[in-house]
Symmetry: C2
Subunit: 139 residues, 2 copies
């Protein structure tokens, strides 16, 4: 495909949960403890080992997208993220081809990445995130 970008790998799978500590306990036990934690507005994000593809948990801590998901569907799988070589090229190409995007341009994600979400209607109901890894001091 000569579309100017490509998926490098599955980057992470995310699980949304609420205050119940059993989600973190399970993945800590399975994967050896969170290797990264970041607080953002409305949720705490934790990354669990098992490189090269991470497992991410999103703990809702206030009203917001994660809390809404947990309230509506219960705790469970939230999204899949794919690492791409160029997120700007990906978004330009997808937009041109009429793919529904939540983020029209890339924004800053965890661990110095640049991220964007596609709309679930683009992917048969699956929330898909694109991730471009940061380099050097940004990484």
């Amino acid at each position: 495909m000569s579309r100017g970008w490509r998926v490098l790998s599955l980057h992470h799978v995310a699980v949304a949960h609420g205050a119940d500590p059993s989600c973190e306990a399970f993945f800590s036990d399975l994967l050896g403890g969170a290797t990264h934690m970041e607080e953002t507005a409305g949720f705490v994000e934790r990354m669990y080992g098992a490189e090269p593809a991470f497992t991410q948990t999103l703990e809702a801590t206030a009203a917001g997208v994660v809390q809404r998901f947990v309230d509506t569907r219960g705790p469970g799988l939230h999204h899949i993220a794919y690492q791409v070589d160029s997120i700007d090229a990906a978004l330009d190409d997808l937009r041109e081809r009429g793919v529904s995007l939540i983020d029209e341009t890339a924004r800053t994600g965890g661990m110095g990445t640049r991220i964007a979400f596609l709309h679930p209607r683009a992917a048969a109901g699956v929330l898909v995130e694109l991730v471009e890894e940061g380099e050097g001091v940004d990484g």
Copy 2:
């Protein structure tokens, strides 16, 4: 952890869907086409590239667990699978520790693997599969 087994990597993430062809179309476009397809009772399983972690789609073709999932929750993320070094040791250990299992012993999965599912109540609502890769002629 000296529990006699360990997770080697995230093996795949599975998406359940029905007859709607947009799910396959999306992942084919994103990941370059299914690299493996297998029909089983009630569903067709397809694996999409992006090594080392695959994306799997499960297309419900008759009554069964996949059709029930799609009927109840709509198409979407279905389970996460982790590759382990010894599925027998993992199941023995998990059973001993009182973790709820769907499969008490390993059974044959796609592509010559041995697999077992944990019960979602073991993992805060997430359906988790363990996979042991086959070797040689089994692989």
